[in-house]
Amino acid sequence: MTDIQLYDQPINVDACIRSVMSPECGGIDVFIGTVRNATKGRQVVRLEFEGYAPMAISEMQQIAGEMQRLWPVIHVVMHHRTGALAVGEVPVVIAVAAAHRAAAFEACRYAIDTLKRTVPIWKKEVYADGEIWIGAHP
């Protein structure tokens, strides 16, 4: 099972985890991204996420395909949020289930690392005294 979504509503972390549970899986690895309260000492008020939806979905599907090609993973959930998120909220959840834990750990790490490099989603950090599009500045 592969479930990939991009939406502007809160992510139900529990539901993501439950949906990858199955009798043939002995391990589930979950990455939960959360909005941190500061970057390089600057206090973050909120993050604003924007995505190019059709391409973001197809890039995430490619990642899921690679995960299944490289490791014996059985179920993959990848949900990403758009819109404004406050400190502590969850912009991304990746849940990976496999028969044994090594595949789940490695594939999940690959998924979040690749997502951050290739999936067309952007975040703007909003501070008390300004804002910055992350990654866009030399």
Partner: protein, 82 residues
Amino acid sequence: MMMKVTVLAFGIARELTGTSQTELDLPEGATAAAVRAALEARYEQLKKLSTYALAVNSMYAQPDTGVKDGDEIAIIPPVSGG
């Protein structure tokens, strides 16, 4: 013969160009490199970006990727999801 493509701009590219969607006329047979040149001629501010990619119909393009009439081009500044 000229052709018309739709251009979408996201994140800082949207703010620099002041638009999220526009159209561009290009000569037939144009490549992604020609799209980049045409965009930078119209929106000089784009050159401020250290780097950006282009996508053609939701796929990352190489400079020699061909562009057809009606294609959807996206300006992809460095991504920062997760």
